[in-house]
């Protein structure tokens, strides 16, 4: 049977919007910037323009600390990105971390810890990448703060 393989690779450049722009600016300065819903006071990180529960604008921006709590985690053996899915040589600790003061959790890596030792509820702090570019990849991951 005739089979033809090849790659068609269109490039996409997404506008992030003015709200996420501020978040990206914050990353350049190694800071987390979130925002707050004007009606219910829910705090979002990363910030978003509209609060889903109220369908109202979240206008107030605030600085958030670089520490948080692990809400959930998994040890991944595969890395899947837009190009391919491949098996990892070393398992990767992936977790949902809720920054102190925020009501949302972000998905991130959990570093410098044995996979068996990760627990829900442990406190972690951010580890920034060596080269800061002002994109979400600047968040290298989170590592345990000593003590539960």
């Amino acid at each position: 049977m005739y089979v033809k393989t090849g790659i068609v690779a269109p490039e996409y450049n997404f506008w992030v919007g003015l709200v996420m722009d501020k978040f990206y600016d914050g990353l350049e300065n190694k800071k987390f910037i979130g925002n707050k819903c004007s009606k219910c006071g829910k705090v979002f990180l990363p910030p978003r323009k509209i609060c889903g529960d109220c369908f109202a604008k979240a206008e107030e921006f605030l600085d958030l600390p670089g520490t948080g709590v692990v809400k959930n985690f998994t040890i991944a053996n595969y890395n899947v990105n837009e190009r391919k899915a491949r098996k990892l040589k070393e398992p990767l600790n992936v977790g949902l971390v809720q920054i102190d003061g925020a009501d949302t959790a972000i998905i991130t890596k959990i570093l410098n810890i044995n996979p068996d030792e990760i627990k829900e509820g442990m406190r972690v702090k951010v580890v920034w990448a060596d080269k800061i570019k002002g994109t979400p990849k600047d968040i290298k991951g989170f590592e345990p703060i000593g003590g539960e």
């Binding site: 005739y2 033809k4 090849g6 068609v8 269109p10 490039e11 996409y12 450049n13 997404f14 506008w15 992030v16 919007g17 003015l18 709200v19 996420m20 978003r48 323009k49 509209i50 609060c51 889903g52 529960d53 369908f55």
Partner: protein, 397 residues
């Protein structure tokens, strides 16, 4: 006839521009949704179902309403996605009609959007056929030969082929095409959300631009816009309470005629004359039948036609039964289709002035309100195309 009579109570828009760099996709759609909810003066919690559509290849996002949920008033509500390429706007609106007509949902929000500046429009359109044409060079039919033999050159190549046929049949001239463009762009200048507003454009201005693909000049073709449009449907009962003048939707139809242009494995076109538009005629017949219209040229008061290229506008107003065959250019010359004419066409400027592909087929059904017509049953036609503007038609009456 449907058992529940659906009505449109508001139509919201976002600002359309060639690059909306101040918003991401979700925020762009939010603008249209917020506009439509405000105009209808309802509580966002009263919306029972949200239907969304766009052409996915232009943004590089698969099923974007999943992550846009919060921004489109969809938290903990049912959501559907309807996409049919260029006719997406029409298909989403028709889906909104059916959702209310079924009696399962009372208030339905139908959204169409596109943020074309995120991706490459030409490649997005070309990927309709890439899977089919890559085999050709391997069997000795190289791309150069293909381009000159087939109506390649994406949408404009196909439209140019269509234009040539129309001009041969009707003896229309380039001036007639330019006249359509002038009418559309001047109309667009009167509406806040359109993209190309040109209140003083003349036929000479249009003819002074270079050819893209004979007979279509640069000045004649539609822009690529970022924008969103949201329409709120509800039942007749609720519409009477909420809106001053609800717009009842009486007939919808959408007919597929893909084999007219390209069958799978590039088996060739099913029709030789692209002006034939069997799909357009059949869907018009179905929709008129549902709406109880027997003499469209007398009974229709207003028309919105999906025509990114001016020759298509001329062709389709004929296929929809509004003018005799080959008589459309005359009608435009005599001012019948102008803003203040007997049968106004595209008072919003049409797709010729604003083309955010996912949204374009959702034209403003409430436009006639500005002219304060008295008839409650405002009939309008909306014609949309799928693929490269050849087949597949959607009507809303």
């Amino acid at each position: 006839m449907s058992k529940v009579q659906p009505a449109i109570i508001s139509c919201g828009f976002s600002e359309h521009a060639s690059k909306r760099s101040d918003v991401n996709m979700a925020e762009l759609v939010y603008e249209a949704v917020e506009n439509s909810i405000q105009l209808a003066n309802i509580d966002w919690k009263d919306i029972d179902l949200i239907i969304n559509g766009n052409m996915p290849a232009f943004e590089g996002a698969n099923m974007p309403e999943l992550w846009m949920g919060d921004h489109i008033a969809a938290k903990n509500k049912p959501v559907l996605r309807v996409t049919t390429g260029g006719t997406t706007g029409g298909s989403v609106t028709i889906a909104g009609y059916y959702a209310v007509a079924s009696g399962l949902y009372d208030t339905v929000l139908a959204i169409g959007f596109e943020q074309q500046s995120c991706g490459d429009t030409a490649l997005g359109l070309a990927s309709v056929a890439i899977g089919e044409i890559v085999i050709y060079p391997d069997v000795g039919y190289d791309y150069g030969k293909m381009a000159s033999n087939m109506s390649a050159g994406a949408a404009i190549g196909v439209a140019a082929y269509q234009a040539m046929n129309y001009m041969r049949r009707s003896k229309a001239t380039e001036e007639d095409l330019a006249r359509v463009v002038v009418q559309n762009r001047r109309n667009a200048a009167k509406t806040w959300w359109t993209h190309l507003k040109m209140p003083t454009i003349t036929i000479e201005d249009v003819l002074d631009t270079p050819y893209l693909s004979y007979p279509l000049r640069f000045g004649m073709v539609c822009p690529a816009s970022d924008g969103a449009c949201a329409i709120l449907f509800t039942t007749e009962e609720k519409a009477r309470q909420i809106a001053d003048i609800p717009v009842y939707v009486n007939g919808v139809a959408s007919v597929a005629n893909e084999p007219a242009i390209l069958a799978p494995n590039m088996e060739g076109a099913g029709q030789v004359d692209p002006c034939e538009q069997l799909g357009a005629m059949k869907s018009a017949e179905l929709a008129y039948g549902q709406a109880g219209i027997s003499f469209p040229e007398k009974e229709i008061d207003y028309v919105e036609v999906y025509s990114p290229f001016p020759n298509q506008e001329l062709m389709w107003v004929e296929r929809l039964g509004l003018f005799e065959e080959n008589m459309a250019p005359e009608a435009y010359k005599n001012g019948l289709t102008a803003w203040d004419g007997e049968l106004p066409v595209n008072c919003s400027g049409g797709v010729n002035s604003t083309n955010a592909i996912g949204a374009s087929a959702m034209k403003d059904p409430l436009r006639p309100h500005c002219k304060s017509w008295e008839k409650l049953q405002i009939k309008y036609l909306k014609r949309s195309i799928r693929q490269w503007g050849m087949d597949g038609v959607a009507q809303l009456i």
